[in-house]
Point group: D2
């Protein structure tokens, strides 16, 4: 059984576009926050601290497939439910479902990897195998 975290978002005027609905990249900002929130809810320290211990600087997105079902406007609250759909060797699939009450608003599957700075060239980021201790905390 996988863990699921939830994150509430209050939609604001400034999140919406001239059509009066959420400008969709904001959903991705929130799902990114939900991705990290999932790990922190599972007891994984923030990347800032991990950088100092195991060198991990984050879990950048490699790919995602997102479907928008209903629109949302400001003054409404939405909830993002996040879980790990699959662990692979160097990547993991994280699934987000965004709902407003019962209504499904948006669903997304993200492929992400844990990355460190390349010791030879700190400007480069390099994927590492999913750390076993992090995975254990999330299951």
């Amino acid at each position: 059984m996988t863990k699921t975290s939830t994150l509430d978002i209050d939609v604001r005027f400034g999140h919406c576009d001239p059509a009066g609905i959420v400008f969709f990249p904001n959903f991705h900002r929130w799902m990114d926050a939900a991705s990290l929130h999932f790990f922190m809810q599972c007891g994984v320290p923030p990347w800032r601290e991990m950088t100092a211990t195991n060198g991990i600087v984050g879990t950048p997105l490699l790919e995602h497939h997102t479907r928008f079902v209903k629109s949302v406007t400001y003054g409404q609250r939405i909830t993002i439910s996040t879980s790990i759909q699959e662990w692979r060797n160097k990547v993991f699939l994280q699934r987000h479902e965004i709902r407003r009450g019962e209504d499904l608003i948006c669903e997304s599957v993200e492929t992400r990897a844990f990355v460190i700075r390349d010791p030879q060239d700190p400007q480069r980021l390099r994927a590492v195998p999913v750390p076993a201790d992090i995975r254990a905390k999330c299951e």
Copy 2:
């Protein structure tokens, strides 16, 4: 043969996250800009004007599949190439490729629809068939 538009983006400090690379929702902001830029390059008026004529308020995103290949940092210029991959009855598939020089950075296929405000309930948006005159301008 489909038309292709290109849009240059200068990546700024504030587009980047603590890992020093573009925070990915910004790619979606830019692809959204590229989507509209495509229509304007094809001679379609801005939605603001279209709202007054045929009622169209925009082309919200229904679905997209995006793959990130390389990271980008500030001080770099990227170019988004945009075209229509497929016209369907009520939706169209718009394809974006983002490159830095020759390097592929990101590619995405977006499913979008033309929407109007529901005459019964102006708070609701409703998809309409792809307007023939708009399609003609884009081919």
Copy 3:
């Protein structure tokens, strides 16, 4: 005595820049949310509903003076306290203080006006005197 509303913000990875601290325009996004939150806490309906009744589409910012005292990073919670510092005829001064626990992070005084769409030209926004019923709810 003026009313004061408070709004909590959880700072996320994506709110921070390559220096690892909040990219300052995000403080303005949050203070804008706090501005509207203040009115809603006072019982004023969202602009979306007001547009249909008294025509008000929002309270755009005319001027602000903002001072940043300490930086904030992700994983931290901040609280915005918002009140009306002064009502004038066509504008009002709204004051925000952002704190992390006891620490003052940022303070700002915003000059805003209530605006309607110009009946002659709906593309133009026009300031109107502060509506007495709204002011009464906020005092």
Copy 4:
């Protein structure tokens, strides 16, 4: 005589709010870009490179006073003119004027400082006196 840099911005749909005008924090994003653009136009290397040489990680904002004169919508181009209004010992005042053609849209004076990471505690940022070589390039 001080140098002045200019930066053009094409305003996009996603920069605008439900009132159809630019959501004001975006002006601050653009002025932040214009601040760095000014230094790069003067021949100062990007902070990313400076971090490796003199340790400077950026020029965070300490204070600003901004006045919004006219609103802007998508499909319009604006130009930001940026100069140094005053050099002080540990801070400098940078002035931005945003225009659409002849029309003044927004003007701002920002107080900024050059910062390095505290050698004792790399999580902390510390202001340093304005580096003489950077100042010389900007005059």
